[in-house]
């Protein structure tokens, strides 16, 4: 017994030895404005992007509101004090001429993508995925635009959308996550630099997965991405967001906002693989990932969030569904893995407003090293949400005895016909499982990887195929190089 326990301990300790694979920076020239935040900076960002006056006004209003707010402290997180005046709020790769084809993409940028294992050409050729590659804060290259345009689908950067489709942006931006929502949403609304805009017209099924790769690149640059997805009546889209970030010593703040509008009979699947730099083994550096993600579902609409969270030093993130329309459906599938000194406080909110609304939550937390991993969820059933149904399953897997795994769900029901169920369990990888796998010839490292992927399978299976493979690799990556 003791021998096994020792052995396991050793292995689990060495899990932390895995260095960050994608820790490199690319040397693209970057144009930045000075550190610090003021109304002038907000106006400057808006001016640099050539935005219409109403957008500038919204940014300024958001900034003024932000000044009245304090950072939230209710999460189970230890967040070092952030000096918001010590952040650069705008960085853009220096504008070159407009790009007409792949050949014109900066060779340095292409090399960066190659290192990440996501060559644009291959993705275009093999998987039919349109990639809107966001390098730092400004969209550099958008592909497949023509194919999408035929269907009337708009997939571009928010800046372009503001220029080319101002009415759509004006109608939907801030409609699901208003700047008054929370501290980081207000900050984002004031200073967001760029992001993606996606509009699927009525009755259109988007023929391919839409994908955006985010990267933090310039040292000390805060990232304030803004994503807006609108699926008009009867439309369908599957949207992928994934990121890997270069290794940095200093902390980087990332406060993105994702808004999704799912109109009547429409469906949106939003999948994320999050692998921001988590800091080193001692917990130095790493990205602070404070994200507000929310979708609004109209009648018969369906919104499905799937996330695999392996990166960031601190994650604060609750992709939510407002089930406003009757018969709408919200889903949340999550794997959150923390190692070393990472902290994650993540979960979802399901707000049932319409009748016969359904929601399902499957959360799989994995904690290793000295990390802290919390699920936080809210299921609210409003008075009028007749026959609403929710089922939540939240599991925690602990690897080693120095980490923490926590579950904080809230159920708030005001309708007697609603049924809300929540279950949570905690487990570890048992000695018996390891012995069984060893006896079949598997190394302990492989066994741990296998068991963890098996534990997360229900969620991984919800990801689009190519993403699922990447996610499995990411989970294995954190468990690699572990056998002593």
């Amino acid at each position: 017994m003791h021998a096994m326990a020792e052995n396991e301990k050793e292995i689990l300790e060495t899990i932390g030895e895995q260095e960050y694979k994608y820790g490199f920076t690319s040397a693209i020239e970057t144009e930045t404005i000075g550190k610090g935040l003021s109304e002038e900076v907000v106006r400057l960002i808006s001016a640099k992007k050539g935005e219409p006056e109403w957008m500038t006004q919204r940014r300024v209003a958001a900034y003024r509101h932000w000044l009245t707010l304090e950072p939230p402290t209710w999460a189970h997180l230890k967040i070092p004090e952030i000096d918001f005046q010590d952040i650069i709020y705008y960085a853009a790769p220096k504008a070159r001429k407009m790009l007409g084809s792949m050949d014109e993409v900066d060779p340095e940028l292409k090399r960066t993508f190659d290192k990440l294992g996501i060559p644009l050409e291959e993705q275009m050729a093999l998987s039919g995925v349109a990639v809107d590659a966001v390098m730092d804060s400004v969209s550099v290259k958008t592909t497949f635009k023509e194919t999408l345009a035929e269907k009337g689908i708009i997939f571009c950067s928010i800046s372009e959308a503001l220029r080319d489709h101002p009415d759509l942006v004006k109608k939907y931006l801030g409609s699901v996550v208003p700047y008054t929502d929370n501290f980081y949403a207000a900050l984002n609304a004031a200073v967001f630099s760029d992001g993606s805009f996606c509009y699927i017209p009525k009755g259109v099924r988007c023929p391919m997965e839409l994908s955006t790769y985010f990267r933090i690149n310039a040292a000390g640059t805060g990232q304030f991405e803004r994503t807006l997805i609108v699926a008009d009546e009867g439309a369908y889209v599957s949207y992928l967001e994934g990121c890997t970030a270069p290794q940095r010593d200093e902390n980087q703040l990332h406060a993105a906002v994702v808004e999704i509008v799912v109109e009547r009979d429409a469906e949106v699947k939003y999948s994320t693989v999050q692998n921001w730099y988590p800091g080193d083994k001692e917990g130095r550096g790493g990205v602070y990932n404070f994200v507000t993600k929310r979708g609004l579902c109209r009648e018969n609409a369906r919104l499905s969030w799937t996330q695999v969270e392996t990166g960031s030093a601190i994650t604060w993130k609750y992709p939510s569904c407002i089930l406003a329309g009757d018969n709408s459906v919200g889903e949340f599938y999550s794997v959150a893995m923390t190692n070393n000194y990472q902290q994650a406080d993540t979960g979802t909110k399901m707000i049932h407003i319409g009748r016969n609304t359904r929601s399902r939550i499957v959360s799989k937390g994995i904690s290793a090293g000295q990390s802290e991993n919390s699920y936080r969820g809210l299921v609210r059933v409003a008075r009028g949400a007749e026959n609403a149904r929710n089922y939540s399953q939240c599991d925690s897997l602990l690897i080693g005895d120095r980490c923490g795994a926590h579950t904080f769900p809230v159920i708030d029901s005001r309708n007697p016909t609603a049924v809300v169920e929540h279950e949570a369990t905690t487990s570890k990888i048992s000695d018996d499982q390891l012995f069984y796998c060893n006896q079949r010839g598997l190394s302990t490292e492989d066994a741990v990887g296998l068991i963890v992927n098996g534990y997360a399978r229900e969620v991984l299976a919800k990801l689009p195929m190519e993403f699922a493979v990447e996610a499995q690799k990411l989970l294995a990556l954190q468990l690699e190089g572990t056998v002593g």
Binding site: L398, G400, D401, P409, I411, V420, E421, A424, K428
Partner: protein, 272 residues
Amino acid sequence: MERILEIIGELRKAGPELLRVEAPVPQTYAAVDPDHLRVELTRGAAAGLVVVHTKAGVVRLDVELGEGAQFDLTEIFLGETFAEVALKQEGRSCCRVTTVELSSANASYRIDLNGAGAENTLNGVFLATEKDHCVVRLHTAHNVPDCTSASCVKGVADDEAVGEFSGLVYVARDAQRTDARQQSRNVLLSERAHIETMPQLEIYADDVKCSHGATVGQMDSDAILYMRQRGLSEAQARALQIEGFVGDIVRRCGVEPLGEALMSLAAEKLER
């Protein structure tokens, strides 16, 4: 209520400030509306205690159980009492708590399992009707290895009542082989009633069995239909169902005739 006080009246009086028990042969004590009662069971002692709260106000109960002590606590809330109960358990001590709220009330339990092999079982019921606001809070701390805790709190909210449950299971670093279970089961009976439940796990040890579950739902309407087909009124059928829902917990309380008396009080409350 009279019936309950009558049953209580036959028991030994505890307090008013201190109940200290050294005897290993269990005896049941009673206290009505104590302000601040301390209960101490020395090593190997055994006792039962029934506390009835009938008045608005803040009440404090401190319980310390020595090694191997056995304690059975029943708390009955009939007035708008705000009760804070702190339970500290040494090794191999065993404590069973039953709490029944038949009026607005706020009962907070802080349970510290401080010695290996300590066991705590807490069962609770609240029946919130009209404009009642019933609250049950639970903080169970597994501070050392090899302790067991199990809790089940069932709530019913009717009319414009509000029911709240919040329960935290805390497992300290190195409190290995902890076995902790928590259940929150709730039924909403009216469109104006409101239930909020927050079961929570905070775990810092890996070799543990911890689980919690929470549900908010309604009574099985097929069963109501079935009973009505056999000639029961809808109100009768519903009352029977609710009785069945909370009955197992209420009847399991420490003193035998008390369970039945509480059930008839509950039935009266539901009929109103």
